[in-house]
């Protein structure tokens, strides 16, 4: 069974997605079924990560034993759909399965009173399928298909509360961005296919010779994935989508956004890896985009009154840290001395920040969802004095806010510190911007804490109580993960993050499928 894990990771949630609508009459049964499916996928994901970390890269060929078609002349060429799972893909898959599970658990109470829940859970599982397919696949066209699945499922979920006009507006924005981005991805896939006659990433990357058409393809792919991962200047869809989506979906939607970031890294390091001599300018573009993203995101967050919108702008600003960390690594990719000195650590910081950010931003958005659940409003000016009424939510919020502001010993500190240290060695200005952003982040969360949780009790909320148990449990799991990842960052770095970084850097291993070919 172990060798079929990559296929099962996609097949199990897909099966769940198509069986959930059968439970139309019993919404809570649909919720439990989705929870069970995500739990099974979580188990499979843990198994996959363990397998990949101990045995190395897994290559799964659909419909055959051998990845290549060998012609009588001895010419071997990959023709089938191939899943290629290295430590980086396994890392992203673990984030996806974990967050889908937490999201399904949180949704059990959070959306209980809505209608059409069987569709909601089916779309949740479909979104998980899209993310897992994107991060596990080794085929460019397959990447496009899963990108579209994630985009369609995600935007349908953003517009789930269709009795609100705003939800449809946000959903349409997200869908147009994702449709245009993925069509452009398809266009550049066509450019690459026309030249090299193959769709396999590993095969293409060994063939690529960086002529003008390749440069155009790289530019289009880079721009599309940057657009999908919510970096400045195409960040406008992020606050709308994250605000309007039900809070249970926020974790999964965050991972879907970072799956595009993963695709961006995959394109930069693996697909165009052989031309790394000229990659330093791409790395600089990525770093500068990262700095701009973090700074613009946080300054726009400071003036928000809507609590979820504020946190969504922080999501933009935190994406900047990941772009900065990995961009610094990409800048010095062709300089072995600098790469060993700080490039590898910078990438580790960026990639570690992905999972840290997914954990604490999901936690924060869930606390915002809890506030919305009990008060019925997201406006900070109308809240107040909720700390006594909702102790668990308050604790969860404090942990999340401390983690996002980079306060030790929470997990945000561990990854941000790596990024400060390493980006300083490339250019001190980058590190200064990163630190200023961190301070501004703390400032805006002090504002949220003061206006929502502290202050005199508001009469309207005299009878509010703590949110139901599944929501509390989901938030406390994430809060515990925040503290654990912050207390023992070395374990996570050694077991998960550095293998992922080395997988990105190990182009040769990727091209030969870990020695299979």
């Amino acid at each position: 069974m172990i060798e079929h894990l990559p296929a099962l990771m996609v097949a199990v949630p897909l099966f769940g997605a198509f069986t959930t609508p059968l439970l139309k009459k019993k919404p809570s049964a649909a919720a439990l079924w989705a929870l069970a499916i995500t739990a099974v996928t979580l188990g499979l994901g843990v198994l996959l990560v363990m397998e990949v970390l101990t045995r190395g890269m897994m290559v799964y060929v659909f419909g055959a034993d051998e990845p290549g078609l060998v012609l009588p002349s001895g010419y071997s060429v990959p023709i089938r759909i191939i899943f290629e799972v290295d430590a980086m893909g396994a890392f992203m898959a673990l984030s996806a399965v974990l967050m889908s599970f937490i999201g399904a658990m949180y949704s059990y109470s959070h959306v209980k009173l809505e209608t059409g829940l069987e569709k909601y859970y089916a779309l949740l599982l479909l979104l998980e399928v899209g993310i897992l397919g994107m991060v596990l696949t080794g085929d460019l066209f397959n990447l496009f298909v899963f990108l579209e699945i994630a985009g369609i499922a995600g935007s349908a979920l953003v517009g789930f509360r269709n009795y609100r006009g705003e939800a449809s507006e946000a959903g349409l924005k997200y869908l147009i961005v994702s449709a245009v981005a993925s069509l452009m991805v398809l266009f550049s896939i066509g450019l690459l296919y026309g030249q090299y006659g193959n769709l396999n990433i590993a095969y293409l990357s060994s063939q690529i010779g960086f002529n003008t058409v390749d440069m155009i393809a790289l530019g289009i792919l880079f721009a599309s994935f940057v657009m999908k991962c919510g970096s400045v200047p195409t960040h406008h869809w992020v606050p709308d989508a994250y605000t309007e989506v039900p809070s249970g979906i926020n974790p999964v939607l965050l991972v879907a956004t970072y799956a595009s970031l993963y695709a961006l890294f995959r394109v930069s390091f693996s697909l165009f890896g052989t031309i790394s001599l000229s990659m330093s300018s791409v790395g600089w573009i990525m770093s500068v985009l990262g700095v701009l993203t973090m700074f613009i995101g946080v300054t726009m967050a400071l003036v928000q009154k809507d609590v979820k919108r504020l946190m969504s702008y922080h999501a933009i600003s935190q994406t900047g840290y990941m772009l900065l960390g990995v961009g610094v690594g990409l800048t010095v990719l062709n300089d072995p001395a600098k790469l060993a000195a700080f490039g590898r650590d910078a990438m580790a910081g960026g990639i570690f920040h992905i999972i840290n950010h997914i954990i604490y931003k999901s936690l924060l958005l869930m606390t915002a969802g809890a506030l919305f659940y009990v008060t019925g409003t997201r406006n900070l000016n109308e809240m107040g004095g909720l700390a006594r009424k909702m102790p668990y939510t308050t604790v969860a919020f404090i942990v999340g806010a401390a983690a996002i502001s980079g306060i030790p010993p929470f997990n945000g500190f561990a990854s941000k510190f790596l990024i400060y240290e390493t980006s300083y060695q490339l250019n001190p200005l980058l590190a200064i911007f990163a630190m200023v952003t961190s301070v501004l982040t703390l400032a805006s969360f002090v504002k949220v804490f003061a206006s929502a949780f502290l202050g005199p009790p508001v009469k309207r909320y005299e009878n509010v109580r703590e949110v139901p148990k599944p929501m509390v449990v989901a938030m406390l799991i994430l809060a515990a993960l925040c503290i654990l990842f912050g207390l023992f960052p070395n374990i996570v770095l050694d077991k998960l993050v550095y293998p992922a970084v080395d997988a990105l850097l190990n182009l040769n291993g990727y091209q030969t499928w870990g020695g299979v070919l």
Partner: protein
């Protein structure tokens, strides 16, 4: 010269369609027109894929009772399979976009993108 234009005609059309699609998405104010812009882009990309796969004088792909001279002279089926997949996905995307547009019209009473803007700031 004339031959060069004729051979590259599909690609010229692709470039034109891409330009028209991006213009429509960027500058039209009616939501339905924006959706049509995305559809035009999709048509451009699909045409591009089909034009890539076409080989003059070659035989149709996966042709079981093919004559002998077709042995090394068949078009690759991959671009056509890609296009079919992309068309199916495109139908889903446009259906969802139009559903959103209808819902927006119901709530806002307008399809003008400059007026249907409650989410801002």
């Amino acid at each position: 010269m004339n031959n060069l234009v004729l051979v590259n005609l599909p690609f010229i059309v692709v470039a034109l369609l891409l330009a028209v699609g991006f213009y429509t998405i960027g500058f039209k104010r009616n939501l339905i027109k924006v959706v049509i812009g995305v559809e035009i882009l999709e048509g451009a990309v699909n045409l591009f894929l089909i034009a890539l796969g076409y080989v003059k004088g070659a035989y149709a792909p996966i042709y079981t009772m093919a004559p002998k001279e077709a042995a090394n002279n068949m078009v690759l089926p991959t671009p056509q399979a890609l296009t079919l997949t992309s068309i199916v996905i495109g139908v889903a995307v446009s259906a969802l976009m139009l559903a959103f547009a209808v819902n927006i019209y119901r709530h806002y009473g307008t399809l003008d993108v400059t007026k249907a803007r409650r989410l801002r700031g």
